[in-house]
């Protein structure tokens, strides 16, 4: 089995982001960038499938600027076999990303595409479902457990009501939730070894993908701030203020 995994370069989840004062977006200059946490989980899952003898080859791919090579290198260090950078300096929204991955799927013919359930920068949670729709493939989103049997995947999904289990025929698109696994730390020798693994550079033109008509961002602003309230000294004092407010 061949697995294609998407990884997106995003602002690290620990960073407290700053909105540019002219409202034109979020400041990213000099900010720590990382692999989207959900994508790291997707890479880890692919490697575990390979270690379990269920997969033979893992390809990681990203759509973004030259700097996104760093994230591909990290995935290669974790254990992916090769990488594809679809290079563009344009802002890529989910529909375009899905079309790029559709083109990559046609080229690489993977049996499984693993993607993070949501990019923590745009918080869209769209690309995997869009890709599955474009390919007319089955999808299983928000996976917390994946079992591969011959030509099928049995996937446990985290849904509002609890856990749902679906069985899908392969090939399929699966999006990963946080509890699927804990990604491994990479060791120095792996990082060195990853330097020799191939990264292929492609353009949107190479794949015949046009940038889809997207949402136009008119402005970016900080959320309304909740002000810190008051310290109360005791449980009794707390109950009495809550009763006063009429919420208890």
């Amino acid at each position: 089995m061949k697995i294609l995994v998407s990884v997106k370069r995003v602002v690290d989840f620990n960073v407290r982001i700053q909105i540019k004062s002219d409202g034109s977006g979020v400041a990213t200059d000099g900010v720590k960038m990382s692999t989207n946490p959900f994508d790291e989980i997707a890479v880890e899952e692919a490697i575990r499938l390979k270690e379990a003898g269920k997969a033979q080859e893992i390809i990681v791919a990203t759509v973004g600027s030259q700097t996104a090579q760093e994230q591909l290198r990290s995935s290669l260090a974790m254990g992916a076999d090769r990488a594809i950078l679809v290079q563009t300096d344009d802002e890529i929204q989910p529909l375009t990303a899905a079309r790029v991955f559709e083109a990559l799927v046609k080229r690489e013919k993977p049996d499984l595409v693993l993607m993070g359930k949501q990019a923590i920068d745009d918080d869209c949670a769209q690309t995997p479902q869009m890709l599955a729709g474009l390919l007319e493939w089955p999808q299983a989103t928000f996976a917390s457990k994946i079992e591969i049997t011959d030509q099928q995947a049995v996937v446990t999904r985290e849904v509002d009501a609890g856990l749902e289990t679906l069985s899908v025929d392969l090939p399929a698109v699966i999006s990963t939730d946080l509890r699927l696994n804990e990604p491994r730390f990479t060791k120095l020798p792996d990082i060195m070894k990853a330097k020799r693994k191939p990264i292929e550079n492609l353009s949107l033109d190479d794949l015949n993908v046009d940038i889809a008509l997207g949402l136009k961002v008119l402005s970016t602003s900080p959320p309304p701030i909740r002000k810190a309230g008051v310290k109360v000294e005791s449980a009794e004092a707390l109950v009495s203020v809550l009763k006063e407010k009429g919420v208890l």
């Binding site: 407290r16 929204q93 989910p94 529909l95 359930k117 923590i120 920068d121 918080d123 769209q126 995997p128 479902q129 869009m130 890709l131 599955a132 729709g133 474009l134 007319e136 493939w137 089955p138 299983a140 928000f142 999904r157 985290e158 849904v159 509002d160 009501a161 609890g162 856990l163 749902e164 289990t165 679906l166 069985s167 899908v168 946080l178 509890r179 889809a212 008509l213 997207g214 949402l215 136009k216 961002v217 008119l218 402005s219 970016t220 602003s221 959320p223 909740r226 810190a228 309230g229 310290k231 109360v232 005791s234 449980a235 009794e236 707390l238 109950v239 009495s240 809550l242 407010k245 208890l248």
Partner: protein, 315 residues
Amino acid sequence: MSKILIIAEHNGMALNISTARCVACAKQIGAETIDIAVFAENGDVIASSAAKLEAVNRVLVIDNAANQHLIASSLEPQIAAISSDYSHILAPGTTFGRDFMPRVAAKLGVPQVTDIMGVEGDRVFTRPNYAGNAIVKVEAPEGIVVGTVRTASFKAVPETGSATIEKMDVDVNIPSHTRFVGQTTGGSGERPDLQSADKVVSGGRGVGSKENFQLIYDFADKIGAGVGASRAAVDAGFVANDMQVGQTGKIIAPDLYFAFGISGAIQHLAGIKDAGVIVAVNTDPDAPIFEVADFALVGDLHEVVGQLATAIDAP
């Protein structure tokens, strides 16, 4: 004027309140018609609830054995088939709507607006990104507008309507590549539903163990609250995943929220920004949760919970 189609969320038996919140969003968009589509095996009961929602014109019932369990790849062709009469299609931004809606958008060749939190025009919306730390105003391009509604941002419309109910046949090929195997529901039992409860009591890693979480349940039951948790509490196995509140859990807007032993990571705060009153109890006076809490009590939750219960009972 806009013609809006809303995809009803339900569990086969009852309509989910998220649907009424989508109607509230549709009303703000300003609609000539608001229709609700009920995809079910037998949608009669659900449709009659949907027909009572204020401002709804028609409820379309698409009964089909394939709709016994709502699967994204089955819903997508059915929704796409009935979409052409509409200017907008909305679904709740719950795990239900998030699953199939992008697939519908891709099929229709349009982008999706995820988590609409405000309406600024018939195709201009605000939505959160970066875990709610940035709010973007976006304009959807020409063509049908496909969006999911951040349910915590809209109050459910009242049940004062009387829409007509129409059965509808949607003749499309439903793929057989995806099968429903089963569902298990999590731990909070008969307590108020997290996403609609007026009061929510949450526990974090500071609760310490699954056994200690009983304290949180007991206190919640005392005040009639739903029970939530931080990711750390879920990951540690104290409670089930469906109780997680936050960026990747549930986004909630209760009138009163208690955070016991929760540090207040941005991903957790993303889920409670719309709460009325936030109360935090934490041993660490510098815990970030205190930066957003309306009432802060520095103390050991294991003692404070009991003291709160006693104080509530006191005359």
